[in-house]
């Protein structure tokens, strides 16, 4: 579904991604771990088309199309979704208006009819309920005054509404208490199917107990220095990153 080849990117002229290679197939869950500043969020932003990040080399194909050619909205309509590490507050725009506009744009692109206001509201209420969210948030401004955990849930709500093919979760677990973590993971798990794929960025093994990855990658200084299965996450939890970095140094 997603094929990343030798992806390099800079911010303000500073090299952040130094040649990333990654193949993700439909139905798979990949996790990316790595120390602060290693480039995890940068990768997520590059994949979703944030123009503050400049791609200097490499190719990305997404469902057999050239992803890097597309603008952010087209990527989203093709089924790319990022649950932001730091969701943005938009005063003056209600959650309902925001989601309805987005959903109808995505549906239009797919050649589907717009939902009626009732269909939309019913769907929104159902998904919000599944995530244990209060109905009152529907009319509130996007993320304004939301707690850290509520913002993360709201990202997952957007995912459930827009029904993307490929989901990037950027530290969706940070700021969540244990119960919220279960609810959010459950939201992801009910959505997961053989036609979707996930790339989960996290620092903590505990999320991966709920969202079980097929592969775990370690990103270090803009490069994937180790890939493995879910046991790698356990090992990282125990040993940290230093041993890997040392191993890496020996190889070089």
């Amino acid at each position: 579904m997603l094929s990343i080849k030798n992806l390099q990117a800079t911010v303000d002229g500073k090299e952040i991604l130094n040649g990333i290679n990654l193949e993700i197939k439909a139905g798979e869950i990949h996790a990316i771990m790595g120390p602060n500043g290693s480039g995890k969020s940068t990768l997520a932003n590059v994949l979703t088309g944030n123009k503050s990040y400049e791609v200097t080399n490499g190719e990305v194909s997404f469902v057999d199309k050239d992803l890097l050619e597309m603008n952010p909205e087209t990527r989203a309509r093709e089924g790319m979704f990022l649950a932001f590490q730091y969701p943005i507050e938009i005063p003056g725009v209600s959650n309902a208006t925001f989601l309805k506009t987005a959903l109808n744009e995505v549906r239009k692109y797919k050649g589907l009819e717009e939902l009626t206001p009732k269909q939309f509201l019913d769907m929104l209420k159902e998904k919000a309920k599944a995530l244990g969210m209060d109905e009152s948030m529907i009319s509130r401004y996007v993320n304004v005054g939301f707690s850290g955990g509520e913002k993360k849930r709201n990202e997952i709500l957007q995912m459930l509404m827009l029904q993307p093919k490929f989901v990037l979760l950027d530290e969706t677990d940070s700021g969540l208490d244990i119960d919220a973590l279960k609810i959010v993971s459950n939201g992801v798990n009910i959505y997961k199917n053989p036609n979707t794929a996930f790339l989960v960025v996290t620092h903590y093994q505990r999320l991966l107990n709920y969202i079980v990855p097929d592969y775990v990658h370690v990103l270090y200084k803009g490069r994937i220095i180790k890939s493995g299965t879910k046991e790698l996450a356990l090992e990282l939890e125990e040993r940290g990153y230093d041993w890997l970095v040392a191993e890496q140094a020996e190889v070089v």
Binding site: T48, G49, N50, K51, S52, N71, P72, E73, R75, A76, R77, F81, L82, F84, P87, I88, I90, P91, G92, V93, T97, F98, L99, T101, A102, L103, E105, V106, Y109, Y141, Q158, L162
Partner: protein, 441 residues
């Protein structure tokens, strides 16, 4: 002949059309105003109050006073296009500042309430008008004296003590001419007695190939415990010149709400002034100006806190695109006597292009020591991070921008208490944005 001489000269023709009306008290005031007009000149940028607004394009032209101009007529259907719909209201229509009886519809009113036009009422009911007319708004510049000299018509609403006018009064000021450049001079008077309430929707529209000058003065008396709301929506042509001075005087425990929604004109200048004459008064000013092209909007607001325990709250927001130019000058005086004053003022501007500019100036003069006053001015661009967030959900860039702009305007718009009016203003914002985007292509 320069425009000043032209206006002086045109006065004779104007008088000759008045017949019996020239005997009325109001005509004495016009003649005095003309004298003042003769001895003064239009403001220039040397004048501190007009520093950022160059009126020479207005002064260069001679606009024919509407009374002397060819009369234009409209059908009800044509006029309907410019009205705010679904608002259960009394309707007064002025074409080039002159009342149109056929197009207006004043419904039943509480006993004693007078709603009508200046020209008729100054004949039928001169006493009630004479008591207030010209008492509040002092002539401060040549635009004011020009208005007074040609003050033939305008809205008059006089609400006696204790009366509540439930339905808002919608006033359509439609400017239009066949083939000449016209001066319209609406002169409005709103008087709210003790414990009374009234709302006015001042709807300014233009349909003309020619430029015109709409030069307004509005006097507002808000007596003790009265509530007056004025919603001004000015949506005129790019060639239009528009000037208005609003002068309000408030008695104790009264509330004055003024909304100033401007979609521009070639040059627009608003002076909105309120003087406090009692305790526990509230003054609320809300403004939104959304302009593009070479439009210029200058808003000067003033609250004169003369008495203790009063509050004023002001929020003005600007959205400026292309080469548009905005000016905001918010003056607040807190006089020595006005202890426990609460005065808030905010001016926020979004610049959508590199060449749009805003000059914003808070002007606080505080002579009392126990007061709470705050002011803030911000100028920025649309937030790119928010834009990316919205786009990352599949919303196209132009729509994402338009959502953010409407969101920016929202805290002004959401305070509008007449629901259908609010919706239609939102719609106007949307239409206007659409136009801006098309222009940008």
């Amino acid at each position: 002949m320069n425009s000043k001489d032209f206006y002086i000269d045109s006065f004779k023709k104007f008088e000759s059309k008045l017949n019996g009306e020239s005997k009325l008290f109001i005509h004495q005031l016009r003649k005095e105003a003309l004298k003042q007009f003769e001895t003064s000149n239009f403001p220039t940028q040397k004048n501190e109050e007009w520093k950022y607004t160059d009126v020479s394009p207005i002064v260069r032209q001679s606009f024919i006073p509407a009374v002397n101009a060819v009369q234009v007529s409209f059908s009800k259907e044509e006029v309907g296009k410019y009205l705010f719909k679904d608002v259960d209201c009394h309707l007064l229509v002025f074409i080039n500042g002159l009342f149109s009886e056929e197009l207006s519809l004043i419904n039943e009113l509480p006993k004693g309430v007078v709603v009508g036009n200046l020209r008729n009422l100054s004949k039928e009911n001169p006493g009630s008008i004479e008591k207030y007319f010209g008492k509040l708004s002092k002539i401060e510049n040549s635009f004011n004296s020009l208005n007074a000299a040609y003050s033939v018509d305008g809205l008059v609403a006089i609400v006696p003590d204790g009366k509540i006018v439930e339905k808002p009064i919608q006033v359509l000021y439609l400017n239009s001419s066949a083939n000449e450049e016209v001066l319209s001079s609406p002169r409005n008077l709103i008087v709210a007695g003790k414990n009374s309430q009234v709302s006015v929707i001042a709807n300014y529209r233009g349909v003309s190939d020619k430029s015109y000058l709409s030069n307004n003065v509005t006097e507002v008396f808000v007596d003790e415990y009265a509530v007056v709301s004025v919603y001004k929506i000015q949506n005129e042509l790019d060639e239009a010149y528009h000037i208005e001075k609003v002068q309000a005087k408030q008695g104790k425990n009264s509330v004055f709400n003024h909304y100033n929604i401007a979609f521009g004109g070639a040059i627009v200048r608003n002076d909105i002034n309120a003087v406090h004459n009692g305790e526990n008064i509230e003054t609320h000013y809300y403004g939104l100006y959304m302009i593009n092209g070479k439009q210029h909007v200058d808003n000067h607001t003033f609250v004169d806190h003369a008495k203790p325990n009063c509050m004023s709250n002001e929020l003005y927001k600007g959205i400026l695109d292309e080469n548009a130019r905005g000016v905001f000058n918010g003056k607040i005086i807190v006089r020595q006597d006005a202890q426990k004053t609460n005065a808030y003022q905010q001016n926020k501007t979004i610049l959508l292009s590199k060449s749009a500019t805003i000059d914003t100036k808070p002007q606080l003069e505080i002579f009392a020591d126990d007061v709470k006053c705050s002011h803030g001015a911000t100028v920025g661009h649309l937030d790119e991070v928010s834009e990316f967030y919205i786009r990352s959900r599949g919303v196209p860039q132009e729509l994402a921008k338009s959502m953010l702009i409407r969101a920016f305007a929202n805290d002004v718009i959401e305070t509008i208490k007449i629901e259908p009016l609010k919706e239609q203003i939102n719609h106007m914002i949307f239409e206007h944005l659409h136009k801006i985007e098309v222009n940008n292509e």
